[in-house]
């Protein structure tokens, strides 16, 4: 019985123009992790290491109890992987692909596959080259979902989908939540999808892991305050920074009004702001997207 769906420990990997150093990332079984980051942040590299496709220069990777990349064959029987840059054979039909996948994975569920065909509005006999981008993405997902893999790894599953197709995909992903044995890792730059479905948030930027936390705690820890400063306050550029308030991520100031963002939100933080002469007018929760932008800006 392993407790983790996957566990990466002290991973380092170096490419000529990109490096990840000492990354540790793990996902408890039965949970959904959203991997957030801009293009080139290291999301795809992370995912490829988890699939055994790329070997890190240092560190340990364990997926579903298997050491990677050494035991990638066994591991991949239980991992379902679909990515933005994955394509099917253009000259063949979707049905041909379904038959092929069924010959590889004995657990392929034909009844579920048929149901997915209907829900995704796909036609088995249609050749892949005749499909739209959205249909191709759904076809890839169908092949993966119908196996009910224990770990689903999805690299940008909803990128480029129209709103209806995206909703269809999200609905199917939500179905996985019913099963506490199945885990999902998905990357997206659509923070909305991640905010909705994930239990864990992992934030990558330029090969660094900026944050790894459960979503509720993470969203709670960030907050935006709209404050009023005393009329006689120094209006110099740096004067607004309350040095004695810990956890300030950014301050924007215009006249007597200021916007303060923190990643250490608590009742104490508001009190400290007040002590520093910032009278809090409003306090807002931040969306994951806003947090994403603030976090990346700070780290650069």
């Amino acid at each position: 019985m392993q407790q983790f769906a996957f566990e990466m420990r002290d991973i380092s990997i170096r490419y000529p123009h990109f490096a990840m150093e000492n990354i540790s990332l793990s996902l408890p079984k039965g949970q959904v992790m959203g991997l957030v980051g801009v293009n080139g942040a290291g999301k795809s590299t992370t995912i490829r290491m988890l699939m055994g496709l790329v070997k890190p220069d240092a560190g340990q990777i364990n997926v579903l109890g298997y050491q990677l990349p050494a035991q990638q064959v066994q591991a991949k029987y239980d991992i379902g992987f679909a990515s933005d840059d994955m394509r099917l054979y253009k000259s063949q039909t979707l049905q041909w692909h379904m038959d092929f996948i069924r010959s590889v994975y004995p657990q392929f569920d034909q009844a579920y596959a048929k149901e997915l065909l209907k829900r995704f509005e796909l036609i088995g006999e249609q050749k892949i080259k005749g499909l739209s981008h959205g249909q191709r993405v759904k076809a890839c997902l169908l092949l993966v979902l119908a196996r009910r893999p224990k770990l689903l790894v999805l690299d940008e599953p909803t990128t480029g989908l129209d709103p209806v197709a995206r909703d269809e995909v999200i609905s199917e992903l939500a179905e996985i939540l019913r099963d506490d044995e199945r885990s999902v890792l998905f990357s997206s730059h659509n923070t909305h999808d991640i905010e909705k479905l994930s239990d864990q948030i992992a934030f990558l930027d330029r090969g660094k892991l900026l944050a790894l936390q459960d979503k509720e705690t993470y969203l709670d820890s960030w907050s935006r305050f709209r404050c009023q400063l005393p009329a006689n306050a120094n209006t110099g550029a740096d004067a607004a920074v309350p040095a004695n308030v810990a956890g300030v991520v950014s301050i924007k100031r215009h006249g007597q009004l200021a916007e303060v963002i923190t990643d250490q939100n608590s009742a104490g933080f508001a009190a400290q702001l007040a002590l520093a002469g910032f009278q809090v007018l409003e306090q807002h929760r931040m969306s994951l997207e806003e947090i994403f932008v603030a976090n990346v800006k700070r780290s650069r």
């Binding site: 679909a82 253009k90 890839c140």
Partner: protein, 227 residues
């Protein structure tokens, strides 16, 4: 190395490649039958035309196999799909090597055997047999060279370059053979007359083919990643 025997997956991957090319392969072989029939008419004009068509056909089958089954797998991004399956990069490489050899060697053997059969059973001088065999082996060797390039680089550019070079060499090779007394003096003999020169060339051709394949196998076994 993993202890898990993955011959089942390798078999499935080869089967998959067979399914991908079986239609075009059947069409090529049908063309091959027509060409062999043409050669069997036993007039110099038709035999020579048939021979040129046959050389072209063998090259086309090889080129399509290497491009479609290897280079395009990366270009069309189906490689990502394949690598998501329960295979290692080595399993995949072995499957590719196996599929290509099978899907080229079998048609190649059929075509060569067909030609020999027609030559033996028709009024065509059997003396052309060494020339036909040597040219066929050269084409096979060329194929192995650009297959190796494709498997090791997955680059369309390099593979096409090797194809062009080997095709140019083939022309030179045929001219060189025809000028060789050991070959051209016996062309119109009633039986195939193998002599030390032609046998040496045959041994060299087969030896080089095996060498290229072995080197490819060793080199691709060292690769750890495709992506």
């Amino acid at each position: 190395m993993h202890t898990f025997s993955n011959s089942q997956m390798i078999k499935l991957l080869i089967l998959k490649d067979w399914q991908l090319v079986k239609k075009s392969l059947a069409a090529y072989l049908a063309g091959g039958v027509l060409i062999i029939g043409l050669m069997g008419m036993a007039t110099p004009l038709l035999f020579n035309t048939g021979a040129i068509l046959m050389i072209t056909l063998m090259i086309v089958i090889g080129a399509r196999s290497a491009i479609e089954l290897v280079v395009n797998e990366k270009k069309d991004q189906t490689l990502t799909f394949m690598m998501s399956l329960p295979v290692t990069a080595q399993d995949y490489a072995w499957a590719k090597l196996g599929a290509n050899l099978l899907l080229y060697l079998v048609p190649w053997l059929l075509l060569v055997a067909g030609m020999l059969l027609v030559i033996v059973s028709s009024p065509v001088y059997n003396g052309v047999i060494p020339l036909v065999v040597l040219v066929s082996v050269f084409i096979l060797l060329s194929y192995c060279c650009y297959l190796a390039t494709a498997l090791l680089t997955y680059s369309e550019g390099y593979t096409t370059a090797v194809m062009i070079v080997t095709n140019l060499l083939l022309n030179g090779f045929i001219i060189w053979l025809l000028r060789m007394p050991a070959i051209h003096l016996t062309l119109e003999a009633p039986t195939a007359s193998w002599n030390s020169t032609s046998l040496l060339l045959l041994a060299a051709g087969v030896g080089l083919t095996v060498l290229v394949l072995l080197t490819t196998a060793v080199l691709q076994n060292r690769k750890t990643s495709f992506l």
